[in-house]
Symmetry: C2
Subunit: 151 residues, 2 copies
Amino acid sequence: MGFFTRPTSVIRNTYSNIKETKFFTINHVHETILADAHHTSAKYKQEISEFDVTDLEPEYKSQHSAPFVVNSPLQLSMEFIEEYHIEANNTILVIGKINELYVKDELIENDGFINLSKGNIAAINGLDGYAIPKLKTRFSYQRPKTNVNDK
Amino acid sequence: MGFFTRPTSVIRNTYSNIKETKFFTINHVHETILADAHHTSAKYKQEISEFDVTDLEPEYKSQHSAPFVVNSPLQLSMEFIEEYHIEANNTILVIGKINELYVKDELIENDGFINLSKGNIAAINGLDGYAIPKLKTRFSYQRPKTNVNDK
């Protein structure tokens, strides 16, 4: 699993934290924390924790020291693996391994599918737009229509 | 803009098409073509066009030969730029440059924001789940709360 971070010519707290500690968490943003989650994009000094300037609460339950966000319906405990410098736009692709996965029970369907909409998890639109999607449909695994490959 | 493709140990038509022609298109999936769009994941032989086995229709309007999908609310004309082999999971990150962007007028808000939900564009959940999100809110650009950085 990976994410892109912008050039490190300005200070990137998230990136430098990860490189230093090797561990981080990914917490899905859900409806009740939308505004606070968006606020964490503000450029605070490195020594200021976003947990101190929002109502988001840290949760320590992993083997390592990176906190999760309390009540996030889906929480991932990540370990830094590798990074790639992307020349095309001077960004960095940071890749981590999922060490632990915490999912609220009510999101898990009988076949193991994780239904994000049951956790009111947000989808983003651009840099500042948020929706709370509701699952509409699932489709089966697709195979070629009969005999088309044999024509 | 980029996307990941799985190992090329099996034939990947999308990947080999792009490497050969250097051009491709990205077409947002919207509500009325959900089932056909999902069906394009079926493994057809290289010489079979997904346009021939679905109701999706090709649209040629770009300088190059790659077709768009008719009526897709947001269409991108892409040119291959570079690729990275991701060691962690043996995938390839394919990066393209956006040469042309076609957006239906009704998606564009007064400030230039592209409201995907006005095009009934799908969000995905896992490999086979689809939602049609409706934009809930937009937030302003966030700055640190007053004086917190000065404490």
